[in-house]
């Protein structure tokens, strides 16, 4: 089957029957951490569950984009999330603490094992190109893969694509980027460096506190517990720029996910602004530009930072990391006020915790100059822990039935996205969407009419703690 050029030169796609490859109760689109948790939860609820993923392995941003750090404090993790962490720890594949650093390869394997145990079927190498609608009800998706074009039908679909691809094509309302001007947070190509003398690096940072963020969350130097993260080198970067060794928009160097005894760490410091992750052209430009930045950063580190003299680029992410694109407009739109003030919801289905500077930009302003002299968040402020609830209504798109969302595309405002775009929230909303989808499919009701009490009961049965905010308040000193 091909598109054809007819006698008048018009390009026509002959109408065709799209073969139905699968029918399932719950279809999860996207195998990032939100999709993995959604599929796991739906599978554990007994629903026939299929997970479609565009790459060959699971983990999405956490593996393919190499962001190998779950930005959620280990003590706040419950249920299947804690279970994933503990399985990784048992394999020497994770370091628990203020957040959880992990080994991406072991995470891929562990996620596969957990999904197999929950009888979830996986369809990798599968890209969603369209949706199957019956009036306003999403009945499934059209996929493109090595077999060509096929349809996958489902009772409930969970959009865990990150970019809300399914919701957008189904006609659900959404916003892209910041509400005021549509601008989006920058993209980053993450890479790892090996051969680093981490002890020397830590010594240097300790001896030059003035050149680093004062926030103990940004500069963690605990070699004993393997919790290391460094954000700064502000002056070294300015000097390198003056010599023409770094691009002009670069203001800092940042390493995290450090495995000290391996001499390996992750560099999260490339940045491209003004690019749209829903456009292939922009993604291509960002992939190219960040690879040049990567070379400059690696050369800078080798030449200028103690501990990096014998370091090298170990590998780079197989796809660029996208922080922000579309967010659906759901039955409820969470705001930053909701989070900071600790708003509670009758339909709470997820509780997440992470450290932020309230009323700022979450470290990655869409306007650029991140880490620059004017960026008080990078140079002066000290983040606080926030515990917050997410209502079920933020996972339910307006206007379209048969559909739930999980992950960073849930219904929140740009300034709340600072908190909810992280992997902790993605996991929590994933579990919630998986449970709700399974119950809705089983009961034969649209997800927006599912019995919320039953969803909450099932979440509790899976070990999720929906009372955390009530017990600790929105900004506790310590997590239990």
């Amino acid at each position: 089957m091909a598109a054809l050029i007819d006698a008048s030169g018009r390009i026509v796609e002959p109408s065709r029957d799209v073969p139905v490859a699968r029918e399932t109760d719950v279809l999860v689109v996207g195998g990032g951490i939100a999709g993995v948790m959604a599929a796991l939860a739906a599978g554990r609820c007994g629903a026939r569950t299929l997970l479609a993923e565009r790459f060959g392995s699971l983990g999405g941003t956490g593996t393919s984009a190499m962001m190998n750090l779950f930005y959620v404090p280990y003590p706040a993790a419950r249920g299947p999330i804690r279970e994933l962490f503990d399985r990784l720890i048992a394999r020497d594949g994770a370091i628990p603490g203020e957040f959880v650093v992990y080994d991406p390869e072991l995470y891929k394997v562990t996620a596969l094992e957990m999904l197999a145990e929950a009888n979830v079927e996986i369809l990798p190498h599968t890209l969603v190109s369209d949706v199957v609608m019956h009036d306003r009800v999403l009945r499934g998706i059209v996929v493109e893969n090595k077999s060509g074009r096929q349809a996958v039908l489902s009772r409930v679909t969970i959009d865990a694509s990150g970019d809300a691809d399914v919701s957008a094509r189904a006609g659900a309302p959404y916003v892209k980027g910041r509400e005021s001007d549509g601008k989006m947070r920058p993209m980053t190509l993450i890479f790892r460096m090996g051969g680093v003398d981490v002890g020397r690096l830590v010594e240097y940072v300790k001896a030059h506190p003035e050149d680093f963020s004062p926030d103990p969350l940004q500069c963690m130097l605990d070699l004993d517990h393997h919790m290391i993260r460094v954000f700064g080198f502000f002056k070294l970067v300015e000097e390198a720029k003056a010599r023409g060794e770094l691009w002009q928009d670069c203001y800092y160097f940042r390493v995290e996910s450090v495995f000290p005894e391996r001499g390996v760490l992750t560099v999260n410091a490339t940045r491209v602004y003004g690019v749209d992750g829903t456009k292939a052209e922009d993604l291509s430009r960002a992939e190219i530009e960040t690879r040049h930045q990567m070379l400059q950063l690696a050369a800078f580190a080798r030449g200028r930072i103690p501990g990096f003299q014998r370091s090298f680029i170990l590998d780079s992410a197989s796809t660029i990391g996208v922080r922000e694109t579309r967010r659906i407009r759901g039955e409820y739109i969470m705001t930053e006020d909701d989070i900071v003030e600790g708003r509670r919801y009758n339909d709470v289905v997820a509780v997440d915790a992470n450290q932020q500077n309230p009323r700022q930009q979450g470290g990655h302003p869409p306007d650029g100059k991140e880490g620059g002299p004017q960026d008080i968040e990078a140079r002066e402020l000290i983040a606080r822990m926030f515990v917050y609830e997410i209502p079920y209504r933020s996972l339910v798109p307006k206007d379209v039935d048969g559909l739930l969302v999980a992950g960073r595309c849930i219904s929140v405002e740009h300034h709340a996205d600072v908190y909810t775009r992280n992997q902790g929230s993605a996991m929590a909303t994933g579990v919630a969407a998986g449970v709700a989808a399974a119950l809705a499919a089983h009961a034969g009701v649209p997800p927006r009419h599912v019995d919320i009490g039953a969803v909450q009961a099932k979440l509790r049965a899976l070990g999720i703690d929906l009372g955390l905010l009530g017990r600790l308040g929105p900004s506790p000193e310590r997590l239990e």
Partner: protein
């Protein structure tokens, strides 16, 4: 449907063949667009495997042109070890895959190739028998990309298949395909300790039975800056007997290279994987991931040098050795490959060994019944020519094929699929497509002399000695 402006040459797939094809087309003067499904360039070349058979076992250089230029650049910057002779595989060039991606990217940009990443070719646009472009699916939906000539470098001949041209899936008589493998890398390896163990246990370097006898590897082969071998048959047998290793391999493929403490591992295997069947691909992804962890545990616990090693990364897609073979005007045969044959219309040369992984337990491979755990290998003493006719599908116009899907028999494809050969056919395909698009004639009608002249000007190696063969 959204439609892009027409390009002269469209290359589908930015793996080893496609990346080189796009550079070749652009350097030949064509406005060139390269479409790639993932976010990065290099495909299987970016997994950390060494390039084998850049030279043949007779010491003749087989790969020239743009592929050789990329490897030379890496060598000059210390990111690759220069081509060195090897008695089984002709030659070995070990390269840092991160640097390789960067070099390919720089060469693409310098040649002004336009890149469209994260875009999957899902259909072709046909005008009668002529391919006029492709339909891609990307984050923004479906989009039409018109072209004057198209290079199918998808590996699986996806474009050719959708255009209706003839192909053979797997082996001619029974459709059997070589098994799929996930290549992975381990870091934190004490390479010196690993090599010392091999030196003390030369039996662990012994060759599989169906390789050329009398050419066993020995301690001297460990002196090379990079080592490529299928090793540890005894340790593997012991682990299998103990039930801790279930992978259907009798040896572990190890490759060392310029990245300190990093070893590339070729040891996972799933038989009967049809790379054009999404369900089979899914099973292979899942199973090779399980196997990878098992092999890594085996190495850590039982192989000296790996005690503190960890899984660095694995290829972002499972590796498919064989799927569709396009049927061209000529089909390259086993005899052509083993005899180092020349053709008047030679546009590339190949010297990667004939490398046939056991199709399944009990299958027949080159006349022998195989156990399922091994590899049949034949050395290439004289690099063979690849005729232009193998790059052009029979019935469809404006389409050129590059990489492992070119017109070759199942057996011959066991050599054609090598990375160095993919670079050579990629170079040829890109140049043919550009010459055809710029002249406004079908690829099958291009003037062979002028294509060969252009390729030689671009330093491709077509014939040995003076003039023709």
């Amino acid at each position: 449907m959204r439609t892009r402006p027409e390009v002269d040459v469209l290359v589908c797939g930015a793996g080893t063949a496609g990346a080189i094809a796009a550079i070749a087309a652009a350097r030949t003067g064509a406005r060139t667009l390269l479409i790639e499904q993932s976010g990065r360039i290099g495909g299987m070349a970016s997994t950390g495997m060494s390039f084998l058979g850049v030279s043949d076992a007779g010491g003749r250089r087989a790969l020239g042109g743009i592929g050789a230029e990329a490897l030379d650049r890496l060598t000059a910057s210390g990111a690759a070890f220069a081509d060195r002779p090897d008695k089984q595989v002709g030659s070995v060039t070990a390269a840092d895959p991160v640097a390789l991606q960067q070099v390919l990217l720089e060469m693409l940009l310098a040649a002004e190739v336009h890149l469209l990443l994260h875009a999957f070719c899902v259909d072709v646009l046909l005008d009668g028998h002529r391919v006029r472009g492709v339909v891609v699916a990307d984050k923004a939906g479906l989009e039409l990309v018109p072209s004057r000539a198209t290079v199918d470098a998808t590996g699986d001949a996806d474009i050719t298949a959708r255009s209706g041209a003839r192909f053979v899936l797997g082996r001619e008589n029974d459709g059997a395909m070589q098994p799929a493998t996930r290549i992975f890398r381990m870091a934190g390896v004490d390479v010196t300790a690993m090599l010392a163990y091999l030196r003390e246990h030369p039996g662990e370097m012994s060759l599989p039975e169906r390789w050329q006898g009398g050419l066993d590897y020995g301690p001297r082969d460990l002196e090379a800056p990079s080592v490529v071998m299928d090793a540890f048959p005894t340790l593997v047998a012991e682990a299998r007997a103990a039930g801790v290793l279930t992978v259907p391999r009798d040896r572990i493929g190890i490759e060392t290279g310029p990245v300190p403490g990093v070893v590339t591992i070729n040891a996972t295997r799933v038989h009967g994987t049809d790379g054009t069947d999404p369900d089979a691909l899914s099973r292979a992804e899942v199973e090779t991931q399980r196997q990878m962890y098992e092999v890594a545990q085996f190495l850590r616990r039982r192989v000296p040098g790996f005690a503190r090693a960890w899984l660095l990364d694995s290829s972002s897609r499972v590796g498919v050795r064989e799927s569709r073979h396009v049927v061209g005007q000529y089909v390259l045969t086993l005899e052509d490959v083993l005899a180092g044959r020349d053709f008047p219309d030679t546009v590339a040369r190949g010297a990667y060994p004939l490398d046939l992984h056991d199709l399944r337990p009990g299958a027949e491979v080159l006349g022998n019944r195989v156990g399922g755990h091994g590899v049949t290998l034949r050395r290439i003493d004289r690099a063979y020519g690849i005729p232009l006719r193998c790059l052009i599908p029979e019935t469809v116009d404006a389409l050129v094929v590059a990489g492992r899907a070119i017109s070759a028999s199942h057996e011959a494809a066991g050599s054609v699929r090598g990375q160095a050969v993919c670079m050579a056919t990629g170079h040829a395909a890109g140049t043919i497509a550009a010459v055809s698009a710029l002249a406004g004639i079908a690829p099958r009608q291009v003037d062979v002399d002028s294509v060969q002249r252009t390729l030689r000007d671009q330093h491709a190696i077509l014939f040995f000695g003076n003039g023709r063969a």
